[in-house]
Symmetry: C2
Subunit: 316 residues, 2 copies
């Protein structure tokens, strides 16, 4: 409950570790944290992009701030641990204070059209890309008695889902399951867990995803707003400062939150009562509209499958 | 919405495929389906147990009913597909009509105490054990134009979670994400998706899980009811007959459902309004009580970690 939360979020002088920190939300967050006086480690795969971002961040940092880029494939558990250990070297082996898990990607596709490998990769790129780092970080924080914070990044599609997202929503729901269990468990060790549930984030990630998007999925999303990364990062940090567990960047996400978040702590009591009231009527209407959009797409999909020879000829 | 749902659930003469069908919910369901005149394939790992259950099911079946047991490790995508193909052989290669995904296990453990392998295995045994079969079945159903049904089995712990379940809840939430996306997507192909959200199921699975359970987890659950498998199976089939998307076996799960299910279809309109009202007050109170139980367990856990030398000596 919002009344009882208190926050000690204070990035100045802390070591902040940001996965997926070379673009979008991660990069915007890195810039904000550097400006607030934090030491920042940015982790991503692409070395050229990483070095460029590292230089940019150094250019806005004070001389005593440690800024570093680490290249790692975070869908590997070993690389996730190694990256965390490497980031800790300039800090005498001390694990980072704040971990922001922004890495991930989305390639919407119908399940029938997805290969097994795509189905698995979608999951690795939404869940394990954050879960491996979270487990490694939790173990190190407890061992070193660091009262840190871990911030997961899920999505509106971690609250509810629709056609096109069978390789995305499972991982984003799973992050919520992990965060819900871990929030409770980490009360044992005074480690704070948060989860960010943003709407679509404008930028190259979203543009890339739209190239693959099935027609029905695009249609359901046609009126959605994409929020610029800087605004997302601001909403996330505002939520952290208020001590919220589930943080959103948009009123639509708040509506979904109040009908989707189970028994976890809510935010502002009065606002949340309002969101719950509205969403209890609005969400079913939205869902019925989305279902109608899917049904309208039937003929086109059937014709496509017919043309591509997906249906077996002999009826059984 | 309950008003608009219609169901064509009719197991007689259908081929029903039940994973985890040699014990607990799966076995109870197999018996019920055989009695209703369905052809039943039961899938599980243990051959001796499987053969025994196969004989039991045959003893209550009519001579024209096909009853078979297949041994398979369903955490392997290849075995999941092979098992489905093998089950289809007596049916001229036709994919089963109804798929019930009951396989899975739970070994609650604190994340700090879990090895990477345990963390991964927990996920495979909750999510992939069902997701691989679901993907294979969906592809075959669409290809063969079989208007089948797929029934996922999640848990109360797929709605909300607490200490001890970091290797369980992520998979159970992920199943909900998969079912939510797939329910919408399969409107394209008239394939029906359902998800069962039971409370604890009494039996050997639950007893085995309690051997590993951390003290805090046991304490939070001490007043929980375990429901006999036959009663769970009955609740599941009642829900299927009513055409419900999310099916529960207990009023506590219904309370959690209304605050956790996002925009997916609800069940009985009037009952659901009541559940939403009660859960909006009750769920936060339950969560605060559970949080207090975790906090009370702190000293014991700290003393244990101290004794086991988990904390680093030098403070950093």
């Amino acid at each position: 409950m919002g009344w009882f939360t208190k926050s000690d979020y204070q990035p100045k002088g802390k070591h902040c570790y940001i996965t997926g920190g070379t673009q979008g939300l991660g990069k915007a967050l890195a810039e904000s944290l550097v400006r607030q006086g934090a030491h920042v480690t940015v982790v991503a795969r692409d070395v050229a992009k990483g070095k460029k971002v590292e230089a940019e961040l150094k250019s806005i940092a004070q001389p005593d701030q440690i800024i570093q880029f680490i290249s790692a494939d975070l869908t590997s558990p070993l690389s996730s641990l190694e990256s965390l250990v490497k980031a800790s070297e300039p800090f005498n082996g001390r694990v980072p204070d704040y971990i922001y898990l922004c890495a991930g990607f989305s390639k919407p596709k119908y399940m029938v059209d997805s290969s097994l490998e795509e189905f698995q990769a979608g999951f690795d790129g939404t869940y394990w890309v954050s879960a491996y780092t979270a487990q490694a970080a939790v173990k190190l924080m407890v061992k070193q008695r660091v009262l840190g914070k871990i911030v997961f990044v899920s999505s509106f599609l971690g609250y509810t889902s629709f056609a096109g997202y069978t390789n995305y929503s499972p991982g984003k729901y799973a992050l919520r399951g992990l965060a819900d269990a871990l929030r409770s468990e980490m009360l044992l060790h005074d480690i704070k867990i948060h989860i960010f549930m943003p709407c679509g984030i404008a930028g190259p990630g979203y543009e890339a995803e739209n190239e693959f998007k099935p027609a029905v999925t695009l249609k359901i999303e046609e009126d959605d707003t994409q929020i610029p990364p800087e605004q997302c990062a601001k909403a996330l940090e505002t939520g952290l400062r208020k001590g919220y567990y589930q943080i959103t960047d948009n009123i639509i996400c708040d509506f979904a939150r109040l009908r989707s978040n189970g028994g976890v702590p809510t935010n502002n009591f009065f606002a949340d009562c309002f969101y719950l009231l509205v969403s209890s009527c609005g969400l079913p209407i939205w869902r019925m509209t989305a279902d109608a959009t899917v049904r309208k797409g039937r003929n086109e999909v059937h014709a496509d499958y017919e043309a591509r020879g997906i249906y077996e000829q002999a009826s059984k």
